[in-house]
């Protein structure tokens, strides 16, 4: 029998409004599902108050009060998004006891829409990783194959949605952290245009690259959640001056006509199964009447070092605040000397990859290397952005696989940091250029899902979503 938790939110919503089901019963079911599937390790913390909160929504509906667009939606939140009164750890020992005194803007916004915070999901520590193995709370496993990773860094959110432990989730994407787990777990995930969604309350890893993004089982849910969290926020100076951004599927939206594929993203290093799925996806696009051209973008050879240089530089400064004085870890000894004490706190509180990236970032910004690395990387970033601008003058979308392979085996990549970085080749460009990128499932290889990535010019989320929807429809027809 199909359980409630299998349903996408938009179907649940109808049942909730028709008073067919109670939010509280649904929440109870979800909590049981999470308990049953504990070995996936999708959640770090569960919201203890969820049943009471669900009750409040039920009452509102019973009383005929007006409720928000996300009424009764139980949303899994990546654990680097601050939730007032609910522990927010960034999957780090450093913040393992940290309870934020405020809500992130996205949390405020979904609460206004009557959504419920289901819990906080596992991730790579401080979002530094592509597998969700680098968590203080242990790795998240791929629900489709527990020997494999869920992808990262928003692996807990990805696995929770794919495993029906949550209908919707929020992740955050710095270099692919929403799209990678979406691809590995076979769900939808979107990295919005830089500035579309407020970062206030998102614990910074690399400020100039990251965006909070929705993850869902259906495009309809994805776009609804995106609509609810988007728009100008006075507390984030980098948000774009947009109000009421609405991605609706009521009317059939315009879809892409001309699409580019980039040689540097589809030639080398793709797993065979991924390549096959990608090329059959191209066939579907052709069936949709889309014209596909292949281009070359040499500069993308430098995208990964460029991305990591900028990310690590920013990270080294963002993570300087964790010194055990105002919040976080406490040591009983070593209080004689400030520098020694905080060095010890940081030595104990951070995991290996975080330490590595902080030290590398410190190096990149240090006297004598700043120009050679940081400024040079910024210059390359500028070129990449310009090149994308140029391409989007002629083409509506750029498509590629989301990840060069299916979900890695546990331990396969996390031992060698450099090898893990190289896996981000498809995803980092969108962050460098600040453009939207959507990952959608496009088939299976070795019984594991493969993701297709659509990138568009800034604020083309609507086009990405409607093209993806049409792709889904055609693929469904073909399948049948």
């Amino acid at each position: 029998m199909k359980k409630l938790y299998h349903l996408p939110y938009h179907e649940l919503r109808r049942k909730i409004f028709d008073k067919e089901i109670k939010v509280k019963d649904y929440a109870q079911e979800i909590l049981e599902r999470i308990k049953e599937r504990k070995d996936i390790n999708a959640f770090i913390t569960i919201n203890e108050g969820i049943l009471e909160e669900a009750n409040l929504i039920d009452n509102k509906i019973k009383e005929g009060e007006k409720v928000g667009r996300l009424a009764g939606a139980l949303i899994a939140i990546k654990d680097n998004i601050c939730t007032k009164g609910i522990r927010t750890t960034c999957a780090s020992k450093m913040l393992s006891n940290y309870i934020p005194p405020y809500d992130a803007t996205v949390i405020e916004r979904i609460k206004i829409e009557d959504a419920l915070i289901l819990g906080k999901t596992n991730m790579d520590e401080f979002a530094m990783g592509s597998t969700t193995e680098l968590s203080y709370f242990g790795p998240t496993k791929n629900p489709l194959d527990k020997e494999r990773v869920a992808g990262g860094s928003s692996g807990g959110s990805g696995a929770a949605v794919a495993d029906h432990q949550a209908p919707l989730a929020l992740g955050a994407d710095t270099g692919g952290s929403v799209r990678c787990p979406a691809s590995f777990c076979g769900i939808f995930g979107l990295k919005p245009t830089y500035g579309l969604v407020s970062r206030y309350g998102l614990i910074s890893y690399a400020n100039s690259l990251e965006q909070i993004g929705p993850m869902a089982k259906s495009l309809k849910d994805l776009s609804l959640l995106l609509s609810c969290i988007s728009g100008k926020d006075e507390r984030d100076s980098t948000t774009l001056p947009l109000k009421d951004f609405n991605f609706s599927f009521e009317k059939k939206g315009k879809i892409a006509k001309r699409v580019a594929i980039i040689k540097e993203l589809v030639e080398e290093g793709l797993q065979r199964g991924v390549r096959e799925r990608f090329y059959s996806a191209l066939e579907i696009l052709k069936d949709m009447g889309i014209k596909i051209s292949e281009l070359s973008l040499k500069i993308l050879e430098y995208a990964i070092p460029c991305y990591y240089i900028i990310a690590m530089a920013e990270a080294s400064s963002n993570l300087a605040r964790y010194d055990g004085l105002r919040y976080g870890l406490k040591l009983k000894e070593g209080m004689e000397n400030f520098s020694l004490y905080i060095s010890k706190i940081r030595g104990e509180g951070f995991g290996d990859e975080v330490k590595r990236r902080i030290i590398l970032g410190t190096f990149i910004l240090s006297a004598g290397y700043y120009e050679q690395f940081y400024i040079k990387a910024q210059a390359i970033r500028k070129i990449i952005r310009k090149e994308f601008d140029r391409i989007f003058k002629e083409y509506d979308l750029i498509i590629s696989p989301t990840m060069p392979s299916i979900a890695y085996k546990l331990g396969e990549k996390s031992k060698d940091p450099l090898e893990m970085y190289l896996g981000d080749i498809e995803t980092v460009s969108a962050n460098l250029a600040g453009i939207p990128a959507l990952s959608l499932p496009c088939g299976y290889s070795s019984n594991m899902p493969v993701g297709l990535q659509l990138m568009g010019k800034p604020l083309s989320e609507g086009l990405l979503l409607s093209t993806a929807q049409e792709f889904e429809r055609i693929r469904g027809e073909n399948f049948e």
Binding site: P305, K330, M335, G434
Partner: protein, 95 residues
């Protein structure tokens, strides 16, 4: 690209970053870091004019807020402080 191994002093970097690294981890971390830096150094193959006109990821300019004060419930913040004396935060001495 010339490797830049010799120039990198892990201890100095760790001191700058205030991260204590144990003796047993030092060798491994140094090796990882050297490998990564030399990989990053790949970008210096590319010859481009260094533009000092700074790139900022946001195309926005002149975003600000009005000068209106607002209170925050400070105790919620103090609750998180690991080491206190009265309402003061306690820190190890500098130096």
């Amino acid at each position: 690209m010339k490797r830049i191994d010799k120039e990198i002093d892990l201890e100095k970097l760790a001191r700058l970053a205030r991260i204590q690294i144990s003796k047993k981890d030092k060798k491994r971390i140094t090796k990882d870091i050297l490998e990564i830096i030399n990989y990053f150094n790949k970008i210096n193959e590319l010859k481009i004019g260094l533009s000092y006109k700074f790139f900022h990821q946001s195309a926005l300019e002149n975003v600000w807020r009005e000068d209106i004060p607002k209170n925050f419930e400070a105790n919620a913040i103090l609750d998180q402080v690991p080491n206190k004396k009265g309402r003061y935060l306690r820190s190890p001495k500098i130096g």
